[in-house]
């Protein structure tokens, strides 16, 4: 039965891999205007279809996949680190800090760029980094800070940032106000491969680090004291994970705005599918998160075409009910995580 289980979850991983491949290959053809493979290859390189396909659709699919995968992985990491099913990088104020950075940049209106990265992205990243340093600093200030206290501090920073953003918005003129609001909705529409070039190294390196720390994440889920007694260097592990996820999420949010929900739900959905062992959970979450956001973004583009629904709206509208359905299904009992012993 053990073998069967192991095999089933290995198969699920392969299945997810195939799904991911399909999603990435197929979604660029779908949109306001369907492009067929035939038209892509028969048309001359300067035709509208070819341009849309290579300049808009493919970069967008890749961006969505990278963002979804990375946000989901960060969510998974934070859930393990804080032993808290509700923890996401956003709960710790990363998104809040990034949003505040971007809002201030838009409001101040001094346009600059560094090494080809836009000032808006840079400001958002600085905001995210500051929020992280603040949370991290707080946790170092008191040795006996519990993880729950750190989580609460993060929530406080989040709220502080949202209020500050409201204040900035209040002081802004109409154009700035619109730009800020649009940024806050999350944006996956990209032109050309610049975004992919910025995000791919960040996401792939970050994911590789997390993938290499599956055993450490497993130990963290059993509780801090036990993890230490098994030889885990808790402080170093935490620092590495914290830094990796923060950099990754900071970069993503800076570029694409705060796209919530995926980061919290995808890890749970995957835990229900492949079990709690992070050595399988990490690749599953990466693949699933990527597919999920890409599919949501595709729907966002076609549902009320030619208009587009903000992708954040779709993720929660689709993912919420799906998650609740999984939660109440019998499968959820098999991981124990989601069932109380009292009935």
């Amino acid at each position: 039965m053990r073998e069967a289980l192991r095999k089933a979850s290995a198969n699920l991983l392969i299945l997810l891999g195939i799904l991911a491949l399909l999603v990435v290959l197929v979604t660029p053809f779908i949109g306001m205007q369907t492009i067929t493979p035939a038209s892509l290859f028969s048309a001359e390189p300067s035709s509208m279809d070819v341009k849309i396909f290579w300049r808009l659709r493919v970069p967008r699919t890749l961006t969505a996949f990278l963002v979804g995968a990375a946000l989901s992985l960060s969510g998974l990491t934070f859930q393990a680190m804080f032993c808290n099913p509700l923890a996401t990088p956003f709960t710790l104020g990363i998104a809040g800090g990034a949003a505040l950075g971007a809002a201030l940049y838009i409001r101040i209106g001094v346009v600059f760029a560094l090494l080809g990265i836009s000032g808006q992205t840079l400001s958002a990243f600085v905001g995210a980094a500051l929020a992280i340093l603040l949370v991290h600093g707080l946790s170092r200030m008191r040795r006996d800070f519990s993880m729950a206290a750190i989580l609460l501090a993060g929530v406080a920073i989040s709220f502080f940032c949202s209020s500050f953003i409201l204040f900035v918005q209040y002081l802004s003129g109409f154009t700035h106000l619109f730009q800020i609001t649009r940024w806050l909705m999350g944006e996956l529409a990209v032109t050309g491969f610049a975004a992919v070039r910025e995000l791919a190294p960040l996401v792939l390196c970050g994911s590789a680090v997390i993938l290499a720390m599956g055993k450490e994440l497993n130990l963290l889920t059993t509780g801090e004291e036990l993890a230490i007694s098994r030889g885990l260097n808790l402080r170093r592990t935490r620092n590495v994970l914290f830094l990796t996820t923060s950099l990754m999420v900071g970069g993503l949010v800076a570029r694409c705005g705060p796209i919530g929900f995926v980061g919290m739900m995808a890890p749970h959905i995957c835990r229900l599918l492949v079990g709690a062992d992070h050595r399988r959970l990490i690749p599953a979450t990466f693949l699933f998160g990527g597919c999920f956001l890409t599919l949501c973004d595709t729907l966002a583009r076609v549902l009320i075409a030619p208009a587009e629904i903000p992708v954040g709206v779709i993720t929660a509208l689709l993912g919420g009910p799906f998650f609740v359905w999984l939660l109440i299904s019998d499968g959820a009992g098999s991981t124990g995580f989601y069932r109380s012993n009292a009935t």
């Binding site: 039965m1 053990r2 289980l5 032993c83 040795r143 006996d144 290499a212 599956g214 055993k215 497993n218 130990l219 889920t221 059993t222 509780g223 801090e224 004291e225 036990l226 230490i228 007694s229 098994r230 030889g231 885990l232 260097n233 835990r271 079990g275 709690a276 062992d277 050595r279 098999s334 991981t335 124990g336 995580f337 012993n341």
Partner: protein, 264 residues
Amino acid sequence: MTAPKDLLTLRDVSLRRRGRAVLCDVSLSLGQGERLALVGPNGAGKTTLLKCLNRILTGWSGSITLAGKALQAYRHRELARWMAYVPQSPGQAAPFSVEGFVAMGRYPYQGPVARLSRQDRQAVGDALDLTDTDSLRDRPLYALSGGERQRVMLAAALAQEAKILLLDEPTVFLDPRHEAAFCAVLARVHRERGLTMITVTHDLNRAALMHDRLVALKDGQVAFSGTPTSFMSRTELEAVYENPFLLAPHPTTGHPMVLPEAPA
């Protein structure tokens, strides 16, 4: 007083937490294969002392030497190959199978690759056998009874193949049958592997029967250190616990045992 070969030596270990001295100049030494019972009233610092040994708690002063080397000089994994820990609380109901959980005890031996080596699997299998948990290996942790879970916690610590076992009130939630079974497993482990054990306990009778040495802590200080039988006297017990005691000889061994006082 000191054992022939000093494995673990504590000298003047003190720890202050939140402005309060939790441990105060604790000195003791332990030889290879010795079984030490750590007793004392609630809040005397017994668990704290275990956690200092484990480096779950840091920031103490004084010196702790393990196999001739300062405790601080050990790397985390290296220390875990020396000491394993069975905590008091059942811990988080982690969503792992028994086998998966016990295999995590192999962490200090594993490289960056996540696969278990043949040696790892052997150690896990032995630990499961030794603790009679082999039949539970596919069960999820949260679905175990208290007695089963405690044996699995021990199995995970044994899979770690450490030379010193730190046990924090390992039998406190167990019924008499499971308690006896757990103690039998501990005795077997001691016999077969010659492990050094430090057990925090409130069960004075078992402490006396199962250990070679006994240290009583009171207000973070060592109040008694010697053989368990010499501790089982009214003067010693009453000095440590500030409570009247009733003692009677064990029917088969003749050791003094603590009896509950009959209600007036």
